[in-house]
């Protein structure tokens, strides 16, 4: 067992896969100069082991980072394209959605696109409107894309490895504010985490909370508080946004009869709606309370702490909503 940060764990995973498979390589801005406190910490030192042909420092050319990665995937390699944040990734949506996601299908299966696209999501203090966005919901809406949002160092490692081994394009969404999070990693174990499988972080009987990425940690805090108030909460980390683990959520809500979906991004148009709609439809007659969702208001992220705070879904709000659900129940 090793103790390491999320950034270290995903760096470790990339190195493991690059050693295992010579066709794996990475490209993005500032990857080869990553050191210590640089913004590309997840790559620190990889240039030394793998050289500039496999850790490719690119021009500031998002369209081509993505487009080249797609072309390279079609041509038999397994690129990991790092767009650094989904905010910059918005400059390369066409190449991801019109090409990566469609090539296998529109060419009738003549080609595969084994591509990992890293586009970090999430709020980080003081980053304001253009560096804090989360668009995992968008990619759930795009046929052909797999979308993962690991919340812990071990899942970061295990899902990055699984993503690199996936023969279809995976949008791998780290959370900017989790890179510093520490966790235990069993380096003797391959540690693969299957795509599409949720993880129950805590068992409970009164209420199910479904969350992903940073919100799983906030939800766990909320569950602790709810326990003190006699609400037994099951917390599910979805881990993969698409294909999402309906079975796991259904099984839990069948048991608890109450579901709260918690997401960090703007609730309007968010993925919480899909989970809520699906479960409400399938389990309508078994619910003790209407399915509820929490997410950010439909406003950009402000810079000042007082403004930014309005965008955050804090544990207190989850607790309040959880209590409301339990009280609102007809039994």
């Amino acid at each position: 067992m090793a103790r390491m940060t999320y950034a270290d764990a995903v760096r470790h995973a990339l190195a493991e896969e690059m050693r295992r498979d010579k066709r794996v390589w990475a490209l993005g801005e500032d990857l080869s100069t990553a050191h210590g406190n640089s913004s590309a910490n997840q790559y620190t030192g990889l240039i030394d082991e793998f050289g500039s042909k496999r850790i490719v420092n690119t021009p500031i050319s998002e369209s081509t980072i993505m487009g080249a990665a797609v072309g390279a995937a079609v041509a038999g390699t397994r690129p990991v394209a790092d767009l650094r944040m989904i905010d910059f990734g918005l400059c390369a949506i066409d190449e991801l959605v019109n090409q990566a996601a469609k090539i296998r299908y529109m060419f009738g299966g003549q080609a595969r696109v084994p591509l990992v696209v890293r586009e970090a999501i999430g709020l980080k203090a003081g980053m304001a409107a253009q560096h804090t966005q989360s668009y995992e919901a968008w990619f759930a809406h795009v046929p052909g894309l797999v979308v993962v949002t690991p919340a812990t160092p071990a899942d970061g490692r295990g899902l990055l490895k699984a993503s690199i081994r996936c023969d279809d394009p995976v949008v791998f969404m780290e959370h900017k504010d989790l890179w510093g999070l520490e966790g235990d990693i069993d380096l003797d174990d391959e540690g693969l985490v299957p795509i599409g499988k949720a993880k129950t972080l805590r068992a409970g009987i009164d209420l199910t909370i479904v969350a992903w990425s940073r919100m799983t940690h906030v939800s766990m805090l909320a569950a602790d508080e709810l326990a003190k108030q006699n609400v037994s909460t099951e917390v599910i980390d979805l881990r993969t946004i698409y294909p999402w683990d309906q079975q796991a959520v259904l099984a839990s809500v069948e048991k608890t009869g109450r579901l709260l979906v918690v997401q960090e991004s703007v609730l309007a148009g968010g993925f919480a709606n899909e989970i809520a709609a699906e479960i409400a439809q399938q389990l309508h007659w078994k619910l003790h309370a209407p399915v509820a969702r929490l997410g950010a208001p439909r406003i950009p992220v402000g810079y000042a702490p007082a403004l930014e705070a309005e965008h955050r879904v804090e544990a207190a709000k989850i607790v309040q909503e959880g209590l409301r659900l339990v009280k609102a129940s007809k039994t």
Binding site: A69, Q110, D168
Partner: protein
């Protein structure tokens, strides 16, 4: 005495005829309503695809654009399968999933027509990087329209290709128009050769209506790219005889322009004149034309008789992890 080049030129002539016959038939089948979607013809531009691809190997990669039939045929794609694809039938190059705009034949290195202009350029530089990484002996060619060079990703790709000294050849197929717009009205500066040069990519102009010239110039630039001398760009000037789409009424240009091209610049006639001037008989040329007509005739008939793909195939060739589900 027979010119030593005759065999080669005859082959070029044959390929151009194949493309022309295919493309003109596309217009006919479109009028008849047999082509389900839309299609872009490359009538008049045959010398560019033919001349460039004559210098490629089957293992080389070709990224095409929306006007991709000629590129595919020149690269060796099967016209029978192509017609099935255009008609949306089982046995099409893409199993009926792509149609004209996504025609592709990976078995001959034709990595796809594409509906989004300029994306072929960025994918091409990445494919070239893959070739390097895998240590393969191939090069990449991307065909790009004149209107497309104003898209930012194309400029990015030029820079990228030179930064990494990649084995890629950009071919600008300049047919004067971009949809209904005269490209020169929305393009500043001295042209694409000047732009490529500024990005450090050696570039050259060629008469895209002269298949021998294209083939000869392509021989040089392809050799350079193959010899790892870095990327190259070829700017081939030609003309789009048909509409942007096969059903375009072309109100935006004077028919005289087309007539002038057909009389003075059209590439097949020019090539035929070279052949007959150099000892090939007119009837030998006609034989080629007739053979190709017969082939296309058969291909169309066979494709029209082919069944639609099974509807269940709509759910294949998409993301492994998690089966797609029809809700409701």
């Amino acid at each position: 005495m027979p010119n030593p080049d005759t065999e080669r030129i005859l082959a070029l002539y044959r390929t151009m005829h194949l493309i022309r016959t295919f493309e003109e038939r596309v217009g006919v089948e479109m009028q008849k309503g047999n082509i389900y979607g839309s299609a872009h013809q490359s009538t008049g531009q045959e010398a560019v695809a033919t001349g460039v691809v004559s210098q490629l190997r089957k293992t080389d990669y070709l990224f095409s654009n929306h006007r991709g039939h000629g590129h595919a045929l020149a690269k060796g794609a099967n016209p029978f399968a192509m017609w099935k694809e255009l008609f949306g039938r089982a046995g099409g190059t893409c199993g009926g999933k792509g149609g004209s705009m996504h025609i592709a034949d990976f078995s001959v290195g034709m990595l796809g027509a594409n509906g989004i202009v300029a994306d072929g350029a960025t994918m091409a530089v990445g494919a070239a990087q893959a070739i390097r990484l895998l240590g393969e002996d191939r090069i990449v060619v991307a065909f790009i329209g004149d209107g497309t060079i104003n898209r930012g990703p194309f400029s990015e790709a030029l820079n990228w290709a030179k930064v990494y000294e990649l084995p890629v050849l950009f071919v600008i197929e300049d047919n004067v128009y971009a949809s209904t717009t005269l490209t020169k009205t929305v393009m500043a500066g001295q042209g694409v050769v000047a732009r490529a040069t500024a990005f450090g990519v050696p570039a050259i102009n060629v008469d895209g209506n002269d298949v021998i010239a294209v083939s000869d110039v392509a021989a040089t630039v392809v050799a350079d790219v193959r010899a790892s001398k870095g990327p190259r760009l070829l700017h081939a000037t030609t003309y789009r005889v048909r509409g942007h789409l096969a059903l375009d009424k072309m109100f935006y240009r004077d028919k005289k322009e087309i007539d002038d091209f057909m009389v003075h610049h059209e590439p097949i006639g020019k090539c035929r004149r070279w052949l007959t001037d150099h000892g090939t008989s007119a009837s030998a040329c006609d034989t080629i034309a007739n053979e190709i007509s017969a082939t296309i005739e058969r291909a169309v008939a066979e494709a029209l008789a082919a069944p639609q793909p099974d509807a269940r195939l709509a759910y294949t060739d998409v993301q492994d992890r998690g089966a797609p589900v029809w809700h409701g």
